[in-house]
Symmetry: C2
Subunit: 186 residues, 2 copies
């Protein structure tokens, strides 16, 4: 089976952007990655921000598809949160790169508004998901607060682990974080 050009373009863009950020991706790089010419890349994504927005959209969809799949049979908050942590872990360890939105979020001030919005949509959905996963016995305000803190810790943990080139650092940080989520210490 052959992979569509847009898929190969997004694959190449994701690989590069999750390592170097928005400016580390050029139309010429993507063209040579996919064996077409840079003008053909513009045919599929006229402007660079179009490409970035499409990439973030796909990233978000794939993230939540995997998350839903891995929590289909999960009832307890603890197993849902574990699936969430393992998905972040996989992004770091298996892909060997940061979360796309973690990197773009750091660069947010210099990004086109449409890209920034897409990144923030990912974060909002993350926080929303974790809030829902926390036990209903916990007040909603408290759940949102814990959710925000969890996402912040995981994003910061990925950044630290990748920057310091020590994947175990993420586990040390993230595993502790989940144990200390107030809802789970009943």
């Amino acid at each position: 089976m052959t992979t569509s050009t847009t898929t190969r373009l997004l694959d190449a863009a994701e690989f590069r952007m999750r390592r170097g950020g928005y400016n580390a991706v050029s139309f010429r790089d993507l063209a040579s990655d996919t064996n077409i010419k840079s003008s053909s890349v513009h045919y599929h994504y006229p402007r660079k921000e179009d490409l970035a927005v499409a990439l973030i959209q796909r990233y978000r969809e794939q993230f939540f598809e995997a998350l839903d799949k891995n929590t289909r049979s999960a009832n307890e908050a603890e197993s849902k949160l574990r699936a969430f942590r393992l998905l972040y872990r996989k992004a770091l360890i298996k892909d060997g790169a940061l979360c796309l939105c973690g990197l773009l979020g750091a660069e947010a001030a210099g990004l086109p508004p449409s890209v920034r919005d897409a990144v923030n949509g990912f974060f909002a959905a993350n926080i929303e998901w974790v809030s829902e996963a926390l036990p209903a016995s916990m007040p909603m305000a408290e759940r949102r607060k814990a959710a925000r803190r969890l996402v912040a810790t995981y994003q910061g943990g990925m950044m630290l682990a990748k920057s310091m080139d020590d994947p175990k650092l993420f586990d040390a940080i993230a595993t502790t974080a989940i144990e200390q989520s107030p809802a789970l210490n009943r």
Copy 2:
């Protein structure tokens, strides 16, 4: 009093780099910021990575000078950690930008090794400082773990708050984080 050219260069570079990252700073931008020519910038910092390393060094020194100053009369772990949190907060709120090393750490994979090393030195010093600030009654291994998690949470919290354009988000995340530092719940 006049400010030295290198100081003005580092000021301009810090402003730009803390918003857009490494690639968002160009010699020509810095030249026009400081009313000199780009070749004169090269006189002070021959290569871009020289400039970045010097900038990170200064950032680190100023950070720990301020930290020492603000904890000179602090004995309790709680007040030391509060000073640490408030310094991160100031970097975000007053400067209106991310931590220089938080941004560069995210871009680490695409940076020159010397710059990456300088960034990691900042993180290592951060973790070390927090480890020392935590109560001696706590085992060192546990202190290091809590310190890593705290730094990760603050870095991630800054990124989330700045990206989502909601400074209060950092307070919500960071205040909760410090309250949950295991050592302080005695």
